[in-house]
Symmetry: C2
Subunit: 307 residues, 2 copies
């Protein structure tokens, strides 16, 4: 019997962003599939979750030499690049960290991969690179920096033979999410029975459960090493149930059996609010499995245990 866990036994992963929300889940999925896991971590990282036992930690202090050393020590079969600085809107003070995290770190990874003969990268993009579903029109500076990195990746792919799959993400959710994003606001509101001010709620969201996302990353790691797969590819990782913010709230209310106090229209839309999502190509061989209603149920259970 061959299952994917057995095939992966002893394979080595180098993960960036491995202490973040998606990254820390990915580390667990990789471990369950038998991978040996190395993570690149800023020693001064904020919001840093405690990495799991048995994970090899390599420090990153911003230097190319740090990444080269991590690459040489870990000799990964696949690099999973999830580290990013996410900002829906930025200030002038955030220009330097945005470029450092979303461009420089990735280029340092590619340079270190080239030097060490590591050929396979699973990269993380954002559907926000495709405002109005354009082939490229970034919603915000965050998305523009992601595209900037992909253009540099194109050089390493062509000149150094690096193969890459970029997963373009929409919104993610799941257990242990400490990010101050929409679902957490809604769940907090359920608990406290507070009132929430919202925009008109007509924007469409594509929420993907983090377990589905992690399986997408594992599947991408198979594709990127498949000689029949194109050397560069980018896939939209959709949860399969696109709905408006109002529909999501209605689904949560049904699941929780309670009503949320929401003042629709009290907040203006964000400048460059995304009202229509990108219809990018789906990744062949991967499908989401967790329906939003089931993901929400699990989140509500988790919450009720914590309170």
């Amino acid at each position: 019997m061959h299952d994917s866990s057995q095939q992966a036994l002893g394979q080595r992963a180098l993960v960036t962003g491995g202490t973040g929300f998606i990254g820390s889940h990915l580390v667990e999925h990789l471990r369950a599939a038998g991978w040996v896991i190395h993570i690149l971590v800023r020693p001064d990282g904020e919001h840093m979750a405690r990495p799991s036992a048995g994970v090899h930690i390599h420090p990153y202090r911003g230097q190319t030499a740090d990444v080269i050393e991590a690459m040489e020590r870990s000799r990964p079969d696949v690099v999973f690049h999830l580290a990013s600085l996410f900002l829906a809107q930025h200030t002038a003070q955030q220009i330097v960290p945005l470029i450092e995290t979303n461009v420089l770190l990735g280029v340092q990874l590619l340079e270190a991969m080239s030097g060490a003969g590591v050929k396979s990268l699973v990269n993380t993009g954002t559907s926000w690179q495709h405002f109005h579903s354009d082939s490229y029109l970034p919603v915000n500076l965050y998305a523009a920096t992601k595209q900037a990195f992909e253009d540099i990746l194109a050089y390493y792919a062509d000149a150094e033979g690096i193969h890459a799959v970029t997963l373009s993400l929409f919104d993610s959710y799941g257990p242990g999410d400490r990010r101050k994003k929409l679902l957490r606001l809604l769940l907090d509101c359920l608990e406290t029975n507070g009132e929430l001010q919202m925009s008109t709620g007509e924007q469409i969201l594509d929420l993907v459960h983090v377990d589905d996302l992690c399986e997408a990353f594992l599947h991408a790691a198979r594709l990127v090493r498949d000689p029949k797969h194109p050397p560069m590819a980018c896939y939209a990782v959709s949860g399969g149930e696109r709905m408006s913010l109002r529909e999501i709230v209605a689904t949560l209310e049904r699941t929780a059996g309670r009503t949320l106090r929401i003042d629709w229209g009290a907040r203006p839309s964000r400048p460059r609010e995304v009202m229509h999502l990108w219809d990018g190509p789906a990744m062949p061989g991967w499908l989401p499995r967790i329906k939003l209603v089931d993901g929400l149920k699990a989140l509500l259970n988790e919450r009720s245990h914590c309170v």
Copy 2:
């Protein structure tokens, strides 16, 4: 009588790379056309030419705040972004300065422009973003970082209403060129009667005289403020006489009336040597004026006065 000098009187320019080869010539052309000139300069800059009298100098130490301050003090009508770190081939140690100079500085400029309401940018790209004449396939990491910056420029153009003309450059030459590039090698060789080892010499070059280039930048500064011109454009700045390296050497030999001692084929081609040049769109309203043979004659005269 209206000539371009009079129209430009009192206009303000902020120039990056203003102490480099092309930039220092551009400062002279701007001054001759009546512009008030501000330059952004690294206090520790290597190869730094002495800026001309009357040029306002603003220090850049890598911080976004430095650029914001320069923008607020200079309030330019047009920003000319020429600063770049050029590397035909890079090492791992050059990753950080490449990203800082070719990506970060440009983003800091755009952010500062947005904050100060400055809308017009003349940017410098490279024909090397178009290996094999592809719409985008970078020859080297330098060219990839130039494209990465243009991705970010697309965001500021769309979100902040910045207008930009990017001039995609080929090779440049002219008086006062201290860069260790091909023509200087050839001229040195003429002087010393030394032998030069070359590749087979079949690659095609497009040499543009720096005075023509400067006029292209000034013309771009008119287009970028013309409401009838598209808000984002990229033009190939060709000298109009593409020839092989062998033909350039033959032209130089005819002009100098002497023969160069060149061992053709003694050196291997560079990896990813560009054999065919990009056929990008020409800038409407601008044409090069200086023929290669005249430019070479002037260089030879300059040399003979120095010896």
